[in-house]
């Protein structure tokens, strides 16, 4: 393709076609200030802060101006600087921007621009009308008084996350940001994905927990992967003094491109469960704290003496821990009696060989087969909504309410699931999102559909575990080891432990399962663990420890290795 030559601030620059002046400038290290622009969002040219001066003497917004052959621009000419100052003055005077009272102070892009251009007083008398502040939402604060109407939140909510909750109402000076029909956020269709708060340049949409806890600059940022479902979204965690302050979606992640769901963004901040911090043994009805070494000794001794030692592991632990677990049983204990805390239909697993989340976005038809991803796999729901907005048909097979039925072209009862086959006959690209616990009869129907299949496993590393031969509980055991991560143990699991006479549980939290245990060993949570998870597409991704585990608390892998060492 033909190269373009342009001049920025007098320097000749050679670039590929198809870029904006802002993109070009950025790639050459020239910093043009922006507010309504965000790298992940399509530019709208609303704030006009990024104006640059052309050779013809016009001021043009760099964020929307295409780089064209022979273009010459100045990015900090006196006229440009004057105009920017004026625009900032207008913004500071549009609503209430007394920064010292603002939760975003320090992290606010408007404030930073104010410093950059030396705005130290109000050139216009600030606007006196007070807008209501919306405190209704559990996690997100909407403070209209700080809003600069840049619409980053709207574009993130709609174009990136597919939720279309936010919009602009009214026009001109009366323009306001509005969830749905000017509803309080809590009562709106907001699904708490938090994308809006992540992109808001001011303190107008902020995450309540993270607000008032200091500047992002002073926090430690760690890239990792969300462990709350099998999608495996990339996250960027902000911590300060080993406290988790906020979680962002990682823009670079090929899985979620920066989008998260409520579980991923907010549930870790809201953790209220009681940690297990020391090994505990129950003897003759009494509970006693014992040392870690003693706990390992006791546990391995019990396992060694067992007639039929068994092990069940959580699909939320890393591949490395799973492998160690497999070796522990196969080699050290010579037992095949292992299982997983979840069980899946193997045939459903096999259907899916090449499914990929991106397929949803380019599908002509999407099927939700006995699944409702909104609450369990939020980002999948996002992708489905985006596909439908782009024109894909959505078919839902369910006997229950489905939170995506608003978007559905047609909903089938499970008894009429076979209608899918005809309905989909003419669709070019079909993606079937299914519950991998479906029955074989369902699979008979699905096999007739030419499609890409995406089984929504429950947990972050379910597929990693299945691939290592772990699926479903063991049959029978007298001494059992359960590596529980944060699982609390449901009725089924507890029932399958009926015959177990000695139960060893490695767990993050106090739970019904630890209540049932004879020996409890504390373990590090995923936030405190490094390793890998395999997501539902089969992508194996790095998990990094975001925080340090409490003293003396080790990761599953380390604990299992200590078991092996003790067993020799």
């Amino acid at each position: 393709m033909e190269k373009l030559f342009l001049k920025i601030n007098g320097n000749e620059i050679e670039v590929e076609p198809g870029l904006t002046v802002l993109q070009v400038a950025k790639s050459f290290g020239i910093d043009i200030p922006t507010l309504c622009h965000h790298d992940q969002l399509s530019p709208i040219g609303a704030c006009r802060l990024c104006v640059v001066e052309t050779k013809q003497g016009t001021l043009q917004p760099a964020c929307t101006l295409p780089a064209t052959q022979g273009l010459e621009v100045e990015t900090e000419s006196p006229r440009v600087v004057e105009a920017r100052k004026f625009i900032l003055n207008l913004l500071f005077a549009e609503r209430n921007h007394y920064c010292m009272f603002c939760e975003a102070s320090g992290d606010c892009e408007l404030q930073n621009m104010g410093y950059r251009y030396g705005i130290d007083h109000f050139a216009f008398s600030p606007y006196q009308t007070k807008f209501p502040t919306d405190f209704s939402h559990k996690y997100i604060l909407l403070e209209h008084n700080r809003c600069i109407l840049c619409r980053r939140c709207i574009r993130a909510c709609s174009d990136l996350a597919g939720h279309y909750v936010l919009g602009m109402v009214n026009r001109g000076a009366h323009t306001m940001l509005s969830p749905d029909m000017e509803s309080p956020l809590k009562a709106s269709s907001c699904v708490s994905c938090g994308a809006c708060a992540q992109v808001c340049p001011t303190g107008s949409l902020a995450d309540k927990i993270g607000a008032f806890r200091g500047k992002a600059d002073e926090m430690t940022k760690t890239k990792s992967v969300c462990a709350n479902c099998s999608v495996g979204c990339g996250i960027l965690a902000f911590t300060k003094a080993n406290h988790l302050i906020k979680i962002w979606g990682e823009w670079e992640s090929p899985v979620n491109h920066g989008i998260l769901c409520e579980l991923g963004r907010f549930s870790p901040l809201n953790e209220k469960r009681k940690r297990v911090l020391q090994p505990i043994i129950r003897q003759e009805g009494r509970r006693e704290v014992i040392s870690y070494q003693d706990a390992i000794k006791k546990a391995t001794q019990k396992l060694k003496e067992a007639k039929n030692p068994g092990g069940i592991i959580s699909p939320k632990t890393t591949n490395e821990a799973l492998e160690a677990f497999n070796i522990l049983f196969s080699t050290s204990l010579q037992s095949k009696n292992t299982g997983l805390m979840e069980s899946y239909n193997e045939k459903a697993v096999k259907l899916s060989a090449d499914g990929c989340l991106e397929d949803i976005l380019i599908a002509n038809a999407v099927v939700l087969y006995k699944v409702d991803p909104s609450t369990s796999h939020g980002v999948v729901a996002s992708w489905v909504k985006k596909a439908v907005t782009k024109g894909a048909y959505l078919y839902i097979v369910t006997d229950e309410e489905n939170s995506l039925s608003f978007y559905a072209t047609e909903t089938f009862k499970t008894s009429e699931a076979d209608k899918l086959v005809n309905t989909l006959e003419n669709s070019k690209k079909v993606v079937v999102i299914l519950n991998p616990q479906v029955e074989s009869a369902d699979l008979e129907i699905l096999k007739k559909v030419k499609a890409v299949f995406l089984p929504l496993y429950k947990s972050a590393n379910s597929l990693g575990a299945i691939k290592k031969g772990l699926n479903g509980f063991f049959e029978k055991s007298d001494v059992a080891l359960i590596v529980a991560s944060d699982f609390s143990g449901d009725g089924n699991l507890l029932a399958s432990l009926q015959d177990v006479s000695y139960l060893i549980v490695i767990s993050n939290f106090v739970s019904p399962l630890t209540e049932r245990a004879n020996l409890i060993i504390p373990s590090a949570t995923w936030l405190e663990t490094s390793g890998t998870f395999t997501n539902l597409e089969g992508k194996t991704q790095d998990v990094s420890s975001i925080m340090e585990a409490p003293e003396g608390v080790k990761t599953d892998k380390a604990i299992i290795e200590d078991f092996m060492k003790a067993l020799g």
């Binding site: 909750v165 919009g167 109402v169």
Partner: protein
Amino acid sequence: MKNEEVGQLIKEYKETGEPLLTLLHKIQNLIPHNHLPAEVLKKVSRELKIPVSSLYSTASFYSMFSLKPRGKHIIRVCSSPPCKLEEYDSLIEAIGEKLNLSIGETTCDGQFTLEEQSCLGLCSLASVMMVDNDIYKNVTVTQLPEILDTYVEE
């Protein structure tokens, strides 16, 4: 709420691919208080699968749509510069006195709403005002009571 009629309009919309603004105009004309109630917009959103925020955003942009109930009769006084050169100020004042009404408000009895209107292209007949679909030209304060009285219900 005129649920059935609204449903019928939406059905026609789907069949003919009629434009959205026309649909909203038609619905608004149907509703006794000359507005687009929230429930109706929700219904449109559901049936046409347009996110409710987008619909609301669109509806709130245009001055001919109202999201709040309005009076039975809508008085629109042209407030564009050419008309303002003529009788605009005194008309607004006189309407205010007669009906106890200012711009954007509705009388307590729900009879009249007063609104500003941008140029109707009748500037050579300024001042211009409309009551519902009736246009009045060269309006002066003296004619006002007579004009308004024709709309007051006995």
